[in-house]
Amino acid sequence: MTRVTTPDPRPRVVAGAEGGGLVEGRRCTACAEVVAFAWPACPACGGPVEPARFGPEGTVWSATVVRVPVPGRTPPYGMAYVDLDDGPRVLAHTGGPVPIGARVRLVPGGDDGDVRVEVVG
């Protein structure tokens, strides 16, 4: 795998008060758009943004299992777009397959930097 020297662009997940993870993102003070990234301006309108945390729970919008080799990864691995409650859509690792519509919870960030969710209940 090519050595990457740029800063890690993935969303940062911190531990929330109730055990789940929270994504450190931004909310636009002009149009209320939310993003899972600490970007300097709103991607929807260019307006000013303020720090905001989203999660820990959300709903799977769609999901797949990657079964082909990807540098630095061992297939198969599950991925999902998760719509966080009152928050943005985030791409998360799921381990195995998860059904669309499943309720999931962010797992506080691990050493590998991946956003990860687990099915609730």
Binding site: T2, V4, T6, D8, P9, R10, P11, E33, V35, F37, P43, A44, W61, S62, A63, T64, V65, V66, R67, V68, V70, P71, G72, R73, Y77, M79, A80, Y81, D83, L84, G87, P88, R89, L91, H93, P97, I100, G101, G113, D114, V115
Partner: protein, 370 residues
């Protein structure tokens, strides 16, 4: 000023480990110049490539004696070739240059595209098949498409390529065989994913002259944010919006299109795209493929060349390969895959890979027979 296509050309498409990019590019440009006639010179060149190293455009052009004139290299992911075409057309239309070469080139090397580590989703391991797979899974969940309809796109396009000697792959498959091929990213199997290809394609454009295929319109847009607020799957809205702009400028509608080459990097891509273009109604894209409406001999053939799925997908070359097919179709030169009496042709390419955007760029061109 109406822009005309003086000539088009392509290389063969496929894994061509012994063939240098110089030779791939020359095959395309030489054929385009032969078709165009006249001097083997142009006033400017736009080159589309994604993975080409720095200087690749000038490196291949100087090997065929095209030096001195302005050379501009553009990158818009899978839409790089069509972006080069769009800019070449605009340069002619505006009078900036008289005769312009648009060239798409790509060597994909030995494997699939690896996720871009400077992109959040790329760094997270989102291989491109997985992005399309999640669109497919969502539409399956919503009942907007069936697994058999997804597979039908692959069956159709591989069968089309039987009549295209430049195609990377071709074959007569059944829906069951497509579904039984190796799973890449659920629910997309191997035969529902485009191959890794090397190739080049070219077009020479200038002020329209009698006897030429002409450009009724060409539109280019980049994606707006795609997120939890988006009503559609990834890539739908940027294609729809680009198509609306292209049709408005062309003065025709989707019902007028006789033949189309669209971005079918994955089977779900063709289905989403035919709906986004308006060639099929909402929920009708999969049915159109399964019923043969978009097959050669059907009402509105889509991807008669075999598409990206079967002709191959050398990224920077793809858009101009699509354009070459439509030009041949509109000139009646498409041989055994000819769509009889095609008058209006459409090219659509969509490139993606940047997180949180509904595509890096989409180009839609509407062309008219001589």
């Amino acid at each position: 000023m109406r822009v005309g296509i003086e000539g088009v050309g392509t290389s063969h498409f496929g894994r061509q480990p012994g063939v240098d990019l110089v030779d791939l590019a020359f095959a395309a440009v030489d054929e385009a110049f032969r078709a165009a006639g006249g001097p083997r010179s142009v006033d400017a060149v736009w080159v589309g490539t994604v993975f080409g190293p720095a200087g690749v455009a000038q490196r291949v052009l100087r090997a065929m004696g095209l030096t001195g004139m302005p050379v501009l290299t553009v990158e818009n992911a899978c839409a790089s070739g069509t972006t080069a075409f769009a800019e070449a057309c605009e340069a002619v239309r505006s009078g900036r240059y008289g005769r312009v070469l648009a060239l798409g080139i790509e060597r994909m090397g030995d494997g699939a595209i690896t996720p871009e580590p400077t992109d959040p989703e790329g760094r997270s391991g989102l291989a491109l098949p997985a992005l399309y797979a999640m669109a497919a899974a969502r539409w399956l969940h919503e009942g907007r498409v069936t697994p058999e309809q997804l597979a039908a796109v692959s069956v159709k396009n591989h069968a089309h390529a039987l009549h295209n000697p430049r195609a990377q792959y071709a074959g007569r498959y059944t829906v069951e065989e497509v579904q039984a091929s190796r799973m890449i990213a659920d629910p997309l199997t191997l035969l529902q994913c485009c191959p890794t290809s090397d190739g080049a394609a070219a077009a020479i454009v200038g002020p329209a002259a009698p006897g030429q295929v002409t450009v009724r319109s060409v539109a280019l847009r980049s994606g707006a944010p795609w997120n939890h607020r988006s009503p559609h799957v990834w890539g739908h809205d940027v294609v729809r919006d680009t198509a609306v702009a292209a049709f408005a400028a062309a003065g025709v509608g989707p019902e007028d299109v006789d033949v189309a080459e669209v971005h079918d990097a994955f089977t779900i891509g063709e289905i989403v795209t035919t709906e986004a273009l308006g060639l099929a109604g909402p929920g009708e894209g999969g049915k159109a493929a399964a019923a043969g409406r978009t097959a050669l001999g059907g009402e509105q053939p889509v991807n008669p060349s075999g598409g990206l799925l079967s002709r191959g997908h050398p990224l920077g070359a793809t858009g101009l390969a699509q354009l070459a097919e439509i030009v041949w179709q509109l000139r009646g030169e498409a041989g055994a895959r000819q769509v009889d009496g095609a008058r209006i042709g459409l090219v659509e390419t969509m490139g993606g890979g940047v997180s949180v955007l509904d595509g890096n760029a989409c180009v839609v061109a509407v062309l008219e027979a001589p």
